[in-house]
Subunit: 215 residues, 4 copies
Amino acid sequence: MSKVKRKPKRLVNKPLNRQKLIQATLDSIVDVGIENTSVTEILDKAKLSRGMINLHFDNKESLLLEALKFYTDIYNQTFYKQLESVKTASPAFKMQTMVAHDLDICVLNRDYVVIWYEFRGKARTNELYRQYTDTRYKRFRDTYYSICTELVKAEPLQGVSSKSIAHGLITMIEGMWIDFYLHSDSFKRSAAKKTFFIYLTALFPSQFTHKGALK
Amino acid sequence: MSKVKRKPKRLVNKPLNRQKLIQATLDSIVDVGIENTSVTEILDKAKLSRGMINLHFDNKESLLLEALKFYTDIYNQTFYKQLESVKTASPAFKMQTMVAHDLDICVLNRDYVVIWYEFRGKARTNELYRQYTDTRYKRFRDTYYSICTELVKAEPLQGVSSKSIAHGLITMIEGMWIDFYLHSDSFKRSAAKKTFFIYLTALFPSQFTHKGALK
Amino acid sequence: MSKVKRKPKRLVNKPLNRQKLIQATLDSIVDVGIENTSVTEILDKAKLSRGMINLHFDNKESLLLEALKFYTDIYNQTFYKQLESVKTASPAFKMQTMVAHDLDICVLNRDYVVIWYEFRGKARTNELYRQYTDTRYKRFRDTYYSICTELVKAEPLQGVSSKSIAHGLITMIEGMWIDFYLHSDSFKRSAAKKTFFIYLTALFPSQFTHKGALK
Amino acid sequence: MSKVKRKPKRLVNKPLNRQKLIQATLDSIVDVGIENTSVTEILDKAKLSRGMINLHFDNKESLLLEALKFYTDIYNQTFYKQLESVKTASPAFKMQTMVAHDLDICVLNRDYVVIWYEFRGKARTNELYRQYTDTRYKRFRDTYYSICTELVKAEPLQGVSSKSIAHGLITMIEGMWIDFYLHSDSFKRSAAKKTFFIYLTALFPSQFTHKGALK
DNA sequence: AATGAATGAGCTTTCATTCAT
DNA sequence: GATGAATGAAAGCTCATTCAT
């Protein structure tokens, strides 16, 4: 018996296939949810062979973690880039910039939000995932807290702590994300921004208008 | 072919065991997440035998749906009871009552919130579940919209629609829930209430104080 | 808590329920095949409660055997009644009578044939069932052998044993049954009879015509 | 979670294992009947692991259908090969050849016949199976009808249609098969052939003898 | 005698992982 | 490095049987 089959050409491209798997994983989470994201689903999407996940990531769990890591890195990078760019600006402008970022299509789009909450769900019962989600959350929260402290310093409010103000704003942003996650059909990014500035204006009338930062 | 062990005890109480299964399902969702809520897990928790789920609910999916139904019924009942009790009260008192309900330990406790968001996660990719979650959400949202309309009528705001106000409040409550879901360790119910009334007071100074409704 | 339910009236009618179960079993075999004849299926058809089969027959297997026994008894009874009635008649008339019986609607009807072959299938791998099916087969075969011996005595055929003749006829009847079992839609009882007498006439021209026995 | 045992041997030969599964299925049908042919039974016989059936055939039902297809293909192939080989021969010789085929050990052996009737039993209540069994039956019947038409043309019979003749012969072959299925212990292939030619000779004395075709 | 809730062995199927090629 | 056939634990489900009532 003579061998008929030929070895298929081989692309020695380890990092490319690694990235393909991460991307396919994120796509699958969006399409079918993290619960239904099976090895088969990922591999079909990545158009790679069965053993690839275990070859590149040892097991499925590691791939999911790497996908989460990749995902949070994107957020962190744009978030800090924006934060850096307004380092010396007024607190109101800082706030405007960060809110613009967090309600921007880059962050507040269907895929992005879905991935975030699917991972957060898993993180609840899994220490390893929580590491990444908590880190991102902490940075996000600390930033808003710090900006709120500056805003309150500029325009003190009778009997109100900057902590409470920050808490409300953070909660509202989180609420808008979850709203998009659960009702992406009816969600309007512009309405979310508008609502946000109405509340900021009510609290800090000398620093904001309904359109954004005063100065 | 041969029988080895046999439990002697037997409870002839169909509705009781049905309820046990629903409760065990909700417990399992809290403990290990909806993803890991297997038939075995539920049955171990309920201390019932393998065939019970199929006997009482035909299949696991039906049990999950019944558990969701049971869960949303609890919320709806207390929610409407509260709403009914303030029918003729001032809009500010209505708001205070509903917020008190939605941030109360009965609704905003670890188990309750976890179950809610675990089901919401599943609802995203499953029509059947969405039916129940959407119904609850709609009632919740409509109620707050209607109260906000009354509040704005009593104290009009320059260039701000009652819709935007309601949107912000709903979003904030949702945000507080998700905050509890994801950070139940650090979450403080009293802080949530306080924050909420700071925002309400900022918007409607003649109807609210930082402690609640003025009258 | 007071008991609400009342005990349902009880019909003390053991033999009736026994017979109901046997009949429901045979009905089920016809409707869904012996393979799909589950305890539930039988009990639904009999409109009796879950425990009835085990109460009256110990287990499902015993009920099936009793149903087979009941079934073969019917055949045997009509078969021997017919045989008895032509004890002193000519062999040709005996043959005509027995063939008429075996191709009659009482025996060669959809239900009857289906039940027969469904049980025969099971009998192949189950000694207990084979007992009953073999007994019926033996009687059937012996009778035809004996009639053929008489026919050949009355009209000897050159170089042909009565055994071979009988073998062919028995085989043909069996073939007609199986034909009905597998193609009951297109099967015609009259065509079967006609075909049968063509072959008998070809073999014994002085004792048969295409319509039946000569005398 | 932890792996305990692991077979070291592994055959990388997909089509071979596919065929093994088909063969094991047919073996199981012969040994324990189609009713008791479980996935475990098949896999034990094939000495393959649990997941193999679903890997090669998606599910058990597909494997059974493929086994039936494989089985009918064998019959069709030899049947048509024989038919082709006597295309230009006399109708009597054609008949002799086809009967020889259908009563030959290749077709009329215990395994073969058992498989056939087990599948036919299932086909009664299952459309998918009936497709295959009916196709084979139709070809078989049509061929005998056509040969009988030729035989009658060569030697007309008073008041007898070729249809009735064919009906009798087909019925007799079917009867011989079922006889073998149900009584393989006592069945004699030579006796079956002998009987068959006795009947053919009685009908067409100028074309057959008790040994076969005259010319 | 009769009921039907309860049991659990055994069924088919899914799927992350392994490993010879 | 890449492939995909193979593995087997664990999943959900079916169903004959049991037994307190």
